[in-house]
């Protein structure tokens, strides 16, 4: 178990995503153990989020804590499952060298970052759950912790993807130089290399495209994650509503957050 958390620690410290580790444009950190660490951290934060119901309603409210502890890791893996196919397709379309396995590993690493941040905010959430009666406040606090975790996790993802693109460019340049040498040694026998004009962009086009695609994709991931958290609700447990595993299909995440804000200021 310590080994799994050591892997997570390596990712957090950035050892796993230094340029030399990414050579050949692949992300090689093993993720099986890491996934277990992610689930454990998710269970931990789920317990923290469910604490509010425990304090307020008593009795069978421990069910809320159990339900939150089960649902919180699900939230992250389901978000991953929904967004992964499109990321992979676009990633292949713009021609980065990231294989399916590498892309998946990278995303799980990003989840690891998110959950480490989220779980580290757990004590603060428990403290507020123990001392607060206001349900909208707890909702907004959890939205805030989720946002911090999401921003840092996706920031990690973008930086790593940028690094992968740099690595890829280096590989392309060295290939280009190699082919240039070959063609010189073969006395320009073949003119496979297109003559480039003074104004032609070299290499950078893919880089820019890749970056914008990844940026858009992180927004998609954030939106899906937010809505997924709404679909899987309740995590906190409204003190006036009975315990349920899932709630009826209604409204959406963003309207609910606005409503919470409104009711916080109108009490």
């Amino acid at each position: 178990m310590l080994k799994w958390f050591k892997q997570l620690d390596k990712i957090l410290r950035g050892d796993a995503t230094r340029i030399p580790s990414l050579a050949e444009g692949r992300f090689t950190t093993p993720v099986a153990g890491l996934s277990v660490a992610i689930v454990l951290l998710g269970v931990l934060y789920g317990l923290c989020a469910g604490t509010f119901a425990m304090i307020r309603t008593g009795g069978e409210a421990y069910m809320q804590m159990i339900a939150s502890a089960i649902k919180l890791p699900m939230l992250f893996f389901l978000t991953l499952a929904v967004t992964f196919p499109s990321l992979y397709v676009f990633n292949a379309l713009i021609g980065t060298r990231l294989s399916v396995i590498s892309a998946l590993r990278l995303l799980i690493a990003a989840l690891g970052v998110m959950l480490a941040v989220l779980a580290s905010l757990g004590p603060i959430v428990v403290f507020f759950a123990l001392s607060t009666k206001s349900y909208p406040f707890m909702v907004l606090l959890n939205v805030a912790t989720g946002t911090v975790a999401g921003v840092l996790g996706l920031g990690f993802l973008l930086r790593t993807l940028d690094r992968l693109v740099i690595v890829q460019e280096d590989i392309e340049i060295s290939n280009f130089e190699a082919s240039l040498k070959n063609s010189q040694s073969e006395e320009k026998e073949s003119r496979k290399i297109e003559p480039t004009g003074a104004l032609d962009r070299m290499g950078k086009v893919t880089t820019r495209k890749a970056k914008s695609v990844f940026r858009i994709w992180t927004i998609v991931f954030a939106l899906v994650g937010a809505q997924m958290s709404w679909v899987l609700r309740p995590f906190i447990g409204c003190p006036t509503a009975p315990f349920e595993w899932f709630r009826e299909r209604e409204s959406n995440f963003f309207i609910a957050v606005l409503q919470s804000l409104a009711s916080l200021f109108s009490l």
Partner: protein, 221 residues
């Protein structure tokens, strides 16, 4: 011990040097406890120090260090993860000592304000005035402590400019948790109209919700 306190105030490298981390953390914790208890006791003496009211002095004396150390403990995990994520793990033990030394500095400054508080209590009997005065003392001590934190953090920031951002992030988290912690741990001063209690019966409220309501009622909502 007074020598240690002076080292902290002068931001000597004593508090943040590399050797014997654990021992220094313990010494800093002791400083926080001793000086926190000192100011807390004075703070709780508003309603008098005899009979029933004596307990308010004891409660406040316990609660001030608890407020600081509790807030510190709750904020630390997220600060640790974020530091790691920004690649500053190798400096973390230094940061930890700098933060704890700042807390110690805060309590020392507070304790040095204690005579003012005594004078205020002797001069004025208005409870609201006492609250305002203590808020002012805590505010001044916090501003001084922040200045101390900057001095402790200077070498770190020189080494890596990200430390500046993280120091600000720390102040935000710490203030967010600290305000609620102070609210939950009421009463510190002890209203002369209320019985002496460790916690208020209705204390489990939320400072931010109350604040939102007050602002709203001021606007006229």
């Amino acid at each position: 011990m007074l020598l240690q306190a002076e080292y902290v105030l002068r931001a000597r490298p004593w508090a943040v040097e590399d050797d014997r981390t654990a021992k220094k953390l313990a010494q800093l914790g002791l400083l926080i406890a001793v000086f926190g208890i000192m100011y807390g006791a004075v703070m709780g003496s508003f309603g008098g120090v005899f009979g029933e009211r004596f307990w308010q002095v004891v409660f406040s004396a316990v609660k001030v260090p608890f407020l600081l150390i509790g807030t510190f403990a709750l904020s630390l995990p997220s600060f640790f993860v974020v530091n790691t994520l920004f690649g500053l793990r190798s400096d973390f033990s230094y940061s930890l000592r700098a933060l704890l030394a700042t807390q110690a500095g805060l309590t020392i400054v507070l304790a040095s304000f204690a005579p003012f508080t005594v004078l205020w209590y002797v001069s004025f009997s208005n409870y609201r005035g006492a609250i305002l005065f203590n808020t002012f003392m805590f505010g001044s001590a916090s501003i001084t402590a922040q200045w101390l934190l900057r001095r402790f953090y200077e070498p770190l920031i020189r080494r890596n400019r990200r430390h500046r951002t993280l120091m600000r992030a720390w102040l935000v988290i710490y203030a967010f948790v600290g305000i609620q912690m102070a609210w939950v741990l009421r009463p510190f001063i002890g209203s002369p109209y209320a019985p002496t209690q460790f916690f208020r019966q209705d204390a489990w409220g939320n400072a931010y919700v109350r604040l939102a309501n007050i602002i709203l009622s001021l606007i006229g909502g």
